[in-house]
């Protein structure tokens, strides 16, 4: 048999799309049509409502799980930064702070100069953490 299956499938798509829409039909018309198809409309709608609730709950659980995983990841990453810069020189730390803050931030570097090494290490740890979180969020948005 040689038929233009692609064309026929396109027709089937349009046919079921046109006949599936309810323009100009009352709810009662639709119910009757579905009953004629052997569907117990009340039960089907009840099942769909329950399904929607279950799916909504599953989605919320999924979002909570994802948020928890992200939090755990951040905490673990935060631990990695602690102590990481203890053997860095003050110049190295200042250079990294400048790198992370970028040209627009305009940190008061003179104030940083006046601070002790431990204090600027603490600032760098916070900045590394914020930088990591920003990258993580941008990565999620890009998905």
């Amino acid at each position: 048999m040689s038929i233009d299956k692609e064309k026929y499938m396109k027709t089937m798509d349009a046919l079921t799309d046109a006949l599936g829409r309810s323009d100009g039909q009352t709810v009662e018309d639709i119910k009757n049509e579905l009953r004629d198809d052997g569907i117990d409309v009340g039960s089907a709608l009840e099942r769909l409502k329950k399904a929607q609730l279950s799916i909504s709950m599953a989605a919320k659980r999924s979002a909570l799980d994802a948020a928890r995983d992200k939090r755990v990841e951040l905490v673990q990453k935060g631990r990695e930064f602690i102590g990481k810069f203890s053997d860095w020189s003050k110049d190295q730390i200042m250079a990294r702070i400048k790198e992370l803050s970028g040209p627009k931030v305009g940190l008061a570097y003179r104030n940083l100069d006046a601070m002790g090494t431990e204090e600027i290490i603490s600032i760098l740890e916070d900045m590394e953490m914020a930088h990591y979180r920003r990258n993580l969020e941008e990565g999620s948005d890009g998905e």
């Binding site: 798509d13 829409r21 989605a59």
Partner: protein, 200 residues
Amino acid sequence: MRNEIHILKYAVWRAKKFVLIGDEVDPEALVSEAIARAYGVGTGGTCRNWNKNKCPKLENFLIGIIKSTTSHKAEHVTGFPKESLCNKDGSTKDDKLLKSGDETKGFLKPKNPEKELIESENLQPLMDELNKLSDEDEDMGMIILCIEDGISKTRHIAEATGYDRKKVNNLLRKLRRRLENYNPKLKNNLPKKGRKNEHR
């Protein structure tokens, strides 16, 4: 979710497409999958972002998802569950929701030649039936012509034919009745209901 009945009806007709070619799809599964995709937990982790500005009605958004997942272009590629994601009591089958991407690879399998042939054989009588309906009724013929051109929305059919929307809806209703009991497995495919309705 409002207007569930419109969504269910749409899914029933989209599922009929598969019945007409000799396959079986549960309409409720299509609705559940559309809801799951809207919530971002569809089969294979699929999701569809609802742009309220573009599509203010959730009903239309869900119908759009059902349309695209069951389109002849998408059916072999994206895949969707043929059975419901939910149990009879509405609770979710957790093993079906949030499947990993790898698991969806099973849906990508091409159809075997035998199945392709059966589908083709089932399509021909329906096309013959549509041609017959076109020959019997000129107005209906115009509607079928639009459908064959891929025009399926009432508004667009009205624009293409010059008929008012009420007439288009009436003709679609008539066509719906004529095809209601169409079964590709029957030799004589003129629907019983269609025959009866001719005298309405």
